[in-house]
């Protein structure tokens, strides 16, 4: 891993200061810069906590002013950003705050999601506006924000830090569930967007993941299926742990070729110092 003590593993030296030994007490995500949309409840909040626990710097984006302030207060070291990813005008202010406050970006998690019509509706009963809302949040919001942050992500990849975009998907992106038309269609589009983007940017070292976290006990699920038995649902913390591992693995993957480069950096520095 690049973050925390990766260089200790490879060279026994800290890249920034050749004289300083690196201690093993470093947390695994020290120095990692993560942004999460929809970070004030459910899966987003669980991801925020998991990355903070690992020592990462985390920015999160949500619409509700009070909730953002409260979560920021409760989670020292987090950066709360008020914004609505479904609104075109909000995207650049959000992107500026993410990269400005974190000083760059290594991991983007497009987690904010809209169900479309609530309660869920059959497609022929779905208002166009509700379908649009699902696509604005789940597809266009994720597309716009990712595009605005692509420069930062690619810079991280060039610097050997690795860069990963995780788009939260759903089994409704693949299976045709009656009543889940707006949500399912928008998530299917997001999934395909992720796959194509991954093909296009793999060569730049920016990886895209599309993962279905499973049916979780979250506010979104409660709105969709109010009478679901919570004991049959996954805890968002469990899903968050799985997603963090997937991101961690994708990060090391996107760094694989760069680790050999790191070795070269150290050799080159030593040559200069002689």
């Amino acid at each position: 891993m690049q973050y925390g003590n990766e260089l200790a593993i490879n060279t026994g030296k800290n890249m920034n200061d050749n004289s300083k030994p690196v201690f093993n007490s470093y947390k695994r995500f020290d120095g990692l810069r993560v942004a999460i949309t929809g970070g004030t409840s459910g899966l987003g909040l669980a991801l925020l906590r998991e990355f903070l626990r690992g020592g990462a710097s985390v920015a999160f984006v949500a619409r509700n002013d009070e909730r953002v302030k409260q979560i920021t207060l409760e989670h020292p070291g987090s950066h709360g950003i008020i914004g609505d990813v479904s609104k075109k005008e909000d995207i650049y202010p959000i992107a500026i705050q993410i990269t400005g406050e974190l000083g760059g970006l290594d991991v983007l998690i497009n987690n904010a999601s809209s169900l479309g019509p609530v309660p869920l509706a059959l497609l022929s009963d779905t208002e166009c506006e509700d379908l649009e809302r699902a696509f604005q949040t789940n597809l266009f919001g994720a597309f716009r924000l990712t595009k605005a942050l692509m420069g930062s992500l690619a810079a991280s990849a060039r610097e050997g830090r690795g860069a990963v975009v995780l788009n939260i998907s759903s089994d409704a992106a693949i299976n045709a569930y009656p009543g889940w038309g707006a949500y399912g269609a928008s998530k299917a589009a997001l999934r395909h967007l992720s796959l194509i983007w991954d093909e296009e940017h793999r060569v730049d070292g920016v990886r895209f993941l599309s993962i279905d976290p499973g049916d979780m006990d979250t506010p979104l699920h409660a709105i969709a299926i109010p009478d679901a038995d919570p004991t049959t649902l996954k805890r968002p913390e469990t899903s968050a742990l799985e997603l963090v591992e997937a991101i961690s693995s994708a990060l090391s993957h996107s760094q694989t070729k760069l680790l050999s480069k790191t070795k070269f950096v150290v050799e080159a520095r030593e040559a200069v110092n002689k």
């Binding site: 709360g80 008020i82 705050q97 400005g100 000083g103 420069g151 810079a155 060039r158 610097e159 480069k261």
Partner: protein
Amino acid sequence: MNAATIPIQRPTQAKLLVIESKGGIRHALRKDFIDFLRPGDLVVANDAATLPASLMGRHQKSGADVEVRLAGRASLSPKDINRFTAIVFGKGDYHTRTEDRPLPPVLTDGDILELGPLCVTAEQHLFNHPRLVSLRFHDEPDMVWSVIARHGKPVQYAHIQTPLALWDVWTKLAGVPVAFEPPSAGFALDWRTLTAMRERGIEFATITHAAGISSTGDAELDKLLPFDEPYHIPQATSLVINRTLARGGRIIAIGTTVVRALEDNATKNSHVLSGDFMATNRIGAKTQLQVVSAILSGTHASYTSHYELLRAFAQDKTLERADKELESHGYLTHEFGDSVFIEREGEIQKTLKLF
């Protein structure tokens, strides 16, 4: 030259004037820019995103409307955001040319300016100029970032009729928001171009340079440009630059800010070092370039600091011939205008200690 008035970053018909190292001048299309590069060249661009550096506000003491344009910062650190060099204009907006904008009310040390929900303090005049002040923000860094992000607008230009949005001025490579005006030479690059470069064996790297304000509309202030500008050179970039120089490859700068940063770095160090630095240099006819072999830049009118920088690449008589070509072929100038690609006349100085 006429100003480009439509904010399109890559018009398909954008022109490119190529000034070859032996003084030859050719006309081309900018979309064919990479045809003038060679395998083994290293292209270096500035990946700074542009801040919405223009903030409308009010001078508390007099109640007068002001426009503040943030123009400089001491470092690129995310938390070092409480003090800016800024240019203050009086009433009005970008529809009036900056040359014709009224002065702000008389600002004395400690005067409060209300910018959106924040109160900032004008702490001192710089260079005794009524428009140029040091501004202090008193709030936490995240609060300052949010107010700039939500309340600010990108610096506007009188020659562009429609208001510019951030998506008009962010390059495709835009990363951390530290530039005060767009590093507009980078408009030429998109992901397709980067892919094509890779396929041809042309390498690519970036620096982050807080491009300052390009002109203030005030002759006295413009003489002080460019202000000191902080920049960051990633380790991967310094490595590939030194490696390219060591094997005799060319460094191609996308824009004047890249030239300024790399040459500033090389004159202060024995080779191009990675890390955070402050560019304090001025590049002109007398500068011996040590790193950069060629530049892609906008077209610039003579007597601007950008034009001065081009004089380090080509002799005055070559640039004069180029000016005539730009005029007679209807090249457009300013941010969204046409471009020049200038190969340095003669070899670059081989004074660096390379490995």
